[in-house]
């Protein structure tokens, strides 16, 4: 592999710089952390994070999220148009979009439950079932496929000890096949939660999985006592 000529703040694949923080990957010096209340209404419809901690029972549209909901509603001439951004918000909070979540979203936007389900099931990014802390989506479409993406996918399944689309017993990983992630020049392109890992090779997969596991262990140590107490 040829050396990459300059350092990309969003680049994590080439040299296995997995210990870059989310902020570094996003270019913290410029972007900052998107505020939970959505910041300026113009940007409130974006879906900034897919969190590692996924609490399917978390309260919806409370506190800062309520504020974000209000902002989203100001940007469209119809309430219906807020459906995708509001489902996005719900998934950010809960990690997946359950039938109950869809019903709640429908109530807020004055849409029937059936309609909301019809829309939510159309889009692949809405997790209809709970997923692991790390949602691993491996692109196996043509450009990545030419460069060995199917082997990378197999390596993820083997090293996380899961089956395709299923969640590992410890709840840490869900591994899925993804359609083109628009990272074709950097194969294999893998999205884990909100972050792209590019130029991933089969050899790097065990290191990355171990890194994510170590991160989880660290997170559990720092928040563990409160969680259990």
């Amino acid at each position: 592999m040829t050396e990459i000529p300059f350092k990309n703040p969003g680049w994590a694949g080439n040299v296995g710089e997995y210990d870059l923080t989310e902020e570094q990957v996003r270019g913290i010096d410029f972007v900052g952390v998107r505020p939970l209340e959505g910041g300026h209404p113009a940007g409130s419809s974006t879906y900034p994070y897919m969190m590692e901690d996924k609490d399917p029972e978390a309260p919806l549209f409370e506190g800062p999220y309520e504020e974000r909901l209000e902002k989203i509603l100001t940007r469209y001439p119809t309430k219906r148009a807020a459906l995708l951004p509001v489902l996005n918000l719900a998934q950010e909070v809960r990690g997946h979009v359950s039938p109950q979540t869809m019903d709640r979203v429908g109530e807020i936007l004055e849409l029937s439950s059936a309609y909301v389900r019809g829309v939510a099931t159309f889009y692949t990014m809405y997790n209809k079932r709970p997923v692991g802390r790390h949602l691993v989506q491996v692109c196996t479409n043509i450009s990545c496929n030419l460069c060995g993406a199917e082997d990378v996918l197999k390596a993820f399944l083997a090293h996380t000890n899961t089956e395709m689309g299923a969640t590992s017993l410890d709840g840490a990983f869900t591994v899925m096949e993804a359609e083109c992630l628009a990272g074709c020049g950097f194969p294999t392109c893998v999205q884990i939660n909100s972050r792209y890992y590019e130029n991933l090779t089969v050899e790097e997969v065990p290191r990355l999985v171990a890194h994510l596991r170590a991160q989880d262990a660290g997170a559990a140590r720092s928040t563990g006592p409160e969680d259990e107490g």
């Binding site: 040829t2 990459i4 000529p5 300059f6 990309n8 703040p9 969003g10 990957v25 996003r26 270019g27 010096d29 410029f30 972007v31 998107r34 910041g39 300026h40 209404p41 113009a42 940007g43 419809s45 974006t46 879906y47 900034p48 994070y49 940007r75 001439p77 119809t78 219906r80 148009a81 459906l83 995708l84 951004p85 996005n88 936007l109 849409l111 019809g118 829309v119 159309f122 889009y123 692949t124 990014m125 809405y126 479409n141 043509i142 450009s143 030419l146 460069c147 359609e179 083109c180 992630l181 628009a182 990272g183 074709c184 020049g185 950097f186 194969p187 999205q191 909100s194 972050r195 792209y196």
Partner: protein, 430 residues
Amino acid sequence: MGYPYSHEKEVPILSKYFGDPEARTLDGWEAREGYQALKKALDMDPEEVVEAVKASGLRGRGGAGFPTGLKWSFMPKAKDKPHYLLCNADESEPGTFKDRELMRWVPHQLIEGCLIGAHAMGAEHVYIYCRGEFFEATQVLAKAVEDAYEAGVIGDDVMGSGRKIDVTVFAGAGAYICGEETGLMNSLEGRRGEPRVKPPFPAAVGAFGMPTTINNVETLAAIPHIVANGGEWYRQWGSEKSPGTKLFCVSGHVRRPGNYELPLGFPLKDLIYDVCGGMIEDRALKAVIPGGSSVPILSAEEAEGCALCYEGVIEAGSMLGCASVIVMDETTDIVHQVMRMASFYAHESCGQCTPCREGTAWVTTILKRIEDGRGTEEDLDTLVEVTEQMTGTTICVLSDSVAAPVQSSIAKFRDEYLALIRRGERVGAA
């Protein structure tokens, strides 16, 4: 400048500041002559701006190549109802990865293009529909829009001109079909992203039932440069029918894949062997898809004589699409790759039209059967027949997009299919 590699033959206009984090900030962009074109455009009559874009000959960069100035001129002048400009940032054509770089490296260039377009067409609101998976790019863009609001570049009084233009960044939720213009409109309105029957065309009845124009990210990003320098300036590159520069997304078996900004008409052969450093391990070229997975595959001979402009690629037997060049070497199992493309379209078919919903699924099934060694020679005829019935019979062109790789691969790589069917021989098999 190309990303992640650059090359001396490039003409970096849109991509000039790729890799330069300073250009992402409002101050940094203004220091690089940013928002000067917007200022100039606001002093011009909207019609003059449309004329300048027409004069440049800029063609839509999303794949269809429709002249942008002409598209803009379809918007009704009457101000009796809201007008919308939509920016299609739902980049999802396999092989394409230029819009993400345009959004995350030069977000203000895109915003400037959007504002100029909104001024030219009398639009009050611009929606930038970003692909849901682009968390990073969307964040960069959202931040840039926020900063532009704070500086009065967007808002009730755009740069003191008295014009009111709002910009909203929208995030999709994962559906290839939302890259189709009317599918995108349905998705923006909170519906399933199913394409609409045309007519009525978006300029008459578009998003929220109002006059709407939709442009690709790269198209809008070129606008500030055209307005600043004039339409004729843009014509110094490219050909009569394909003026200007274009970002070429090269992926697959080349040494230096990535984005390169080159004048249209650039020889495909030079792109592969010079700009991209040649084939990996100097293996032989087998096939090239020149415009994303929806266009016919070119054989090595066809590719080597191909000029990368709209008319040049048609002459070679394919389409330029969004200039996503997928390069395949001699080790490529064409049958497997075509099967993978077909299964993609089967997954992404919205299911409205029967030929597409059924056709994509059956084509995938037959290709899988051939791959598994259970195919017959008749299957090839069936594939051609089925894909012929999928062409031109549906609301949008997703169905036609399956036909292109299937038919072209059977025509050009029939031996490879036959070797698999008759003798179970596979290319690239260990």
